[in-house]
């Protein structure tokens, strides 16, 4: 499952994980640059240190 981190302060504290509320269009938030996939937490366990 893809997890996201906050990029824009209009969403919350930048760097914090973002958990979408019911009905929120996550793709639009990514397209607008408000959130970004959290690559760190999306790595397979074998790639994590």
């Amino acid at each position: 499952m893809t997890t996201y981190k906050i990029v824009s302060p209009r969403i919350g504290k930048p760097g914090d994980p973002y958990t979408p509320e019911d009905g929120v269009n996550v793709e639009a938030l990514v397209a607008g640059g408000f959130i970004a996939p959290d690559k760190k937490s999306n790595k397979p366990n074998s790639e994590k240190e």
Binding site: S8, P9, R10, G23, V24, N25, E27, A28, G32, F34
Partner: protein, 136 residues
């Protein structure tokens, strides 16, 4: 006569993005289709509530800068989202209820509304969705 005054300064959130500082007007109308239930013996029309048909209209300043109006809305047109309004900033309470439309549809987005010597503004209407109120 007792009255209360209310300085309009609502919080407006569209798809989780706080656009309060770009908003100048917000009107959330809660509406249910009126289904006629008048029957023989009645002497006046009677109605009962049908499907919810709620609507939020917001006026916003247009901005094409990062994390502003256009960036928020460009990918939302033609899709559904969640919008929230509440009378003032601060915690939700009985006197500061947060109203939410979940799964509301943005049919149209004016991507340009420019006139010489004025700030660009747009008016949006979010249609439908499930209405709820949070007081805590």
């Amino acid at each position: 006569m007792a009255t209360t005054t209310y300085l309009s300064n609502p919080v407006v959130t569209v798809n989780s993005v706080d656009l309060t500082d770009q908003a100048t007007s917000a009107t959330l109308t809660v509406r249910y289709d009126a289904l006629e239930s008048t029957a023989f013996g009645d002497t006046a029309h009677k109605f009962t509530a049908g499907l919810g048909n709620h609507e939020l209209t917001v006026d916003l300043y247009m901005s094409y800068a990062a994390s502003e109006t256009y960036a928020t809305l460009a990918a939302l047109v033609g899709t559904t989202t969640t919008v929230k309004v509440k009378p003032a900033s601060g915690a939700n309470s009985a006197t500061n209820p947060e109203m939410t439309l979940t799964g509301t549809y943005l049919e149209a987005l004016p991507v340009m509304n420019a006139a010489m010597g004025t700030l660009a503004t747009i008016s949006l209407t979010f249609k439908g969705g499930v209405y709820s109120v949070a007081t805590s």
